[in-house]
């Protein structure tokens, strides 16, 4: 089959799955619903592999014209090149594993069919996002994943204890995303105003080949607005507080949306617009991206160090890794960023699914202070979780090590000071991840006896995805090996992406010499091993258990309380708006509107009363008014003629 048909099927299958499950799912058995959704995903993945194998050039697939004006036509068009196919593979691949996991994890939930409808719908929107050929399709998918994220985070909105909180978290995510979306929309309008088109290929041509030079301020404005949009979706400062709250959703949702796919949409946007970010005017934006990412990764890592909910630690870890990605983008290391996106998708999804397995085993307990010593009870989960932890901490030879190292290499070339700061962030990552691992799986069990009775390994539908992701986390580094380990490195992913993605082929990044690279790698390995040993001592040998909330002091309290970001936003934004709202209600609504509308009604009432009294029932008065009427008529005719 041709690439066109394959792509259309890849897009249509999740939509079809969502439609079938959405309309008929209520009456189907749970097995059937889950199977339809998962099979659809696996088939999409297989088709994506086929496209991946056969595709070598950029192809455009026109669907239809959305708006047709004289000088501007908005197409619904798909673009198939290396970047979009790679993202499709990640989305469908990791997505199908998560679907498989959900079949087991959500089996006790009564909204089963709804869950899979939303999941498939989300995948569809995400695919539109990555496969689109212009910014309009990207925006369409952007909004679509925002909606599905809202639906999925607030999935348990009718839960008795936490239903309200789930709804609030979903709204918080949606509204913060919306703020970013406003930036993105303004950016799109600016692009349209400046260039007259939204297509990636045409824009790349205009900027690179035809050498149209828009003013620096315009490019700064466009790239800044795009970055603001990316900030909202990819949870950077200041729009990151929604992501930890979004952990209120079921764990597969967190794995899919907030680890592997949606939050990488921001990164994807910047990589897609690389030709815009490389213009002279956008250098300031790149610096802004760089520093925001740096700050975010440090702040999030700091907060993660004293969190006690297993999912919250992973959420802040995601924010921190996204910060690291924006640092990479700020340096212009686009392919390095994509490499880290890929490996991050693997091990973060693995970690989230593993935590889901742990939560499932612990009968829905999420506090790590109540866990401990679980490695004896849930061996497969333990093994895969360990692999994920090692990967994220940058343990040598695992995938995370290679991708982080490439970013660090770029950082060193940029400036050694930045490298030092990034190393601090990487160190903190290692610290909190090992803390999480040791407290959960080592030591003695600190939970209730009843929970201990229920500890059991998860069913195969949940452990198989864990194993697959673990393998990918281990060997994922092979995708983009630097030229140090083997005599001539492969850098396969970089070359693959650069080969077929507009703009990337023009970006030349320097490479370190072999000796420099070895030194770097050695330093990173050394640090990781020290931290591993250190945390082992602290948490296992000395059995230093996380304190309860009241005992925290100083930096630990600040870390646990999320650096008071939520309170800050509450005071800065929420309270003033609520105050304004209340004042408006009091004055405008109650006073003016009620008085005027009720006054009007009262006026009609009173005038009706007056007219009513005219009918007195007395014949003489009727006669009187008849006479008055006759007089009036005659006078009128007299005057007229």
């Amino acid at each position: 089959m041709s690439v066109d048909q394959l792509i259309l099927m890849i897009l249509a299958l999740p939509l079809l799955g969502a439609l079938i499950n959405g309309t008929l799912g209520k009456n189907m058995s749970k097995q059937l619903v889950g199977s339809i959704a998962t099979v659809v995903m696996f088939v999409s993945f297989a088709l994506a592999l086929m496209v991946f194998n056969s595709n070598h050039t950029t192809q455009l697939i026109q669907l239809f014209d959305v708006i047709k004006l004289d000088d501007f036509t908005l197409h619904a068009r798909l673009q198939v090149d290396s970047l979009s196919i790679w993202m499709t593979l990640i989305v469908t691949g990791v997505g199908s594993l998560i679907h498989l996991f959900s079949m087991g994890y959500m089996s006790h939930d009564k909204g089963y069919y709804k869950f899979f409808t939303y999941l498939n719908l989300f995948i569809f929107a995400m695919l539109i996002l990555v496969l689109g050929s212009n910014y309009f399709m990207l925006f369409f998918g952007w909004e679509g994943v925002g909606i599905c994220s809202y639906l999925l985070i607030g999935f348990h909105y009718s839960d008795e204890q936490k239903g309200m909180l789930n709804g609030v978290a979903a709204r918080k995510a949606f509204i913060m995303n919306r703020i970013g979306d406003l930036g993105l929309l303004i950016g799109l309008f600016l692009i349209l105003a400046q260039f007259g088109t939204l297509e990636y290929t045409e824009l790349a041509d205009k900027l690179t080949i035809e050498n149209i030079e828009p003013s620096t301020w315009m490019m700064f404005g466009i790239t800044l607005c795009l970055f603001i949009g990316a900030t909202g979706k990819s949870a950077q400062i200041p729009l990151f507080t929604w992501l930890p709250d979004a952990m209120a959703g079921p764990t597969p949702v967190s794995a899919l949306i907030h680890a592997a796919t949606m939050v990488t949409a921001g990164i994807f946007l910047v990589v897609r617009s690389n030709f815009m970010f490389e213009t002279p005017g956008a250098q300031i934006t790149q610096d802004i991206m760089f520093y925001v990412g740096l700050a975010t990764s440090l702040v999030a890592a700091f907060i993660a160090m004293r969190q006690n909910d297993i999912k919250k630690v992973l959420a802040y870890s995601t924010v921190s890794q996204l910060g690291l990605l924006f640092v990479a983008l700020g340096m212009g290391a686009y392919t390095a960023a994509m490499f880290h996106v890929t490996t991050h998708a693997f091990f973060k999804a693995l970690l989230f699914l593993g935590s889901g397995s742990v939560i499932h085993a612990m009968s829905d307990e999420q506090d790590i202070r109540k866990m401990g010593g679980l490695r004896k009870f849930i061996p497969i989960t333990h093994a895969t979780f360990l692999i994920g932890t090692l990967a994220i901490a940058g343990f040598p030879l695992l995938s995370g090590f290679y991708s982080k190292d490439e970013i660090l290499a770029h950082a060193v070339m940029h400036s050694p000071v930045i490298y030092a700061i990034l190393m601090v962030s990487v160190a903190m990552t290692a610290i909190y991840m090992f803390r999480l691992y040791f407290l959960t799986f080592h030591g003695s069990f600190r939970g209730s006896d009843e929970a201990k009775h229920h500890l059991h390994e998860s069913p195969k539908s949940m452990t198989i995805p864990l194993l697959v992701l673990a393998i990918l986390s281990v060997f994922g580094g092979l995708l983009n090996l630097p030229g140090v380990i083997l005599a001539k490195g492969t850098h396969w992913l970089s070359h693959y992406l650069e080969h077929n993605t507009r703009g990337l082929e023009l970006i030349k990044t320097e490479h370190l010499t072999n000796s420099q690279a070895m030194l770097l790698m050695g330093g990173a390995v050394l640090m990781t091993l020290i931290i591993l040993f250190g945390t082992f001592v602290v948490y296992v040998k000395r059995n230093s258990v996380a304190k309860s909330d009241e005992q925290l002091k100083g930096w630990e309290l600040a870390s646990n309380q999320k650096l008071y970001f939520d309170e800050l936003y509450n005071a800065l934004f929420v309270k003033p708006i609520e105050w304004i709202s209340m004042k408006l209600h009091q004055f405008v609504e109650l006073f003016v509107l009620n008085k005027s509308i009720l006054g009007f009604v009262g006026l009609i009432d009173k005038s009706g009363n007056i007219v009513r009294k005219w009918q007195s029932g007395i014949v003489a008065s009727y006669l009187f008014w008849m006479v008055v009427g006759i007089v009036g008529l005659v006078v009128y005719y007299l005057v007229k003629f």
Partner: protein, 109 residues
Amino acid sequence: MVLATIFQNGVSIEFYIVLSTILFVIGMIGVMIRRNAIILLMCIELMLNAVNLLMVAFSTYFGQADGQIFVFFIMVVAAAEATVGLSILVMAYRNLRTTDVSIFNKLKG
């Protein structure tokens, strides 16, 4: 013995128009003022007679007898109406023991 037509002898037609209007208005005032039902009916008869007067005046003025025929029929109708009206009045008096029309105000708003 035939009297000459008075309109050829100095009496203007306006005189009778004014006279008839005055009688009509007096009758109308009577209807509005008086609350006794019988007097009310009588004032209606007065109004009818004012109209009769005008009709006859005009029939004499134009020399056509149609006006007087019409007067004839007005009288017929007035007689019938007075009869039926009075009998209704008598029956109402039997039930209400009064002839005051202002008590018939059940249709008020």
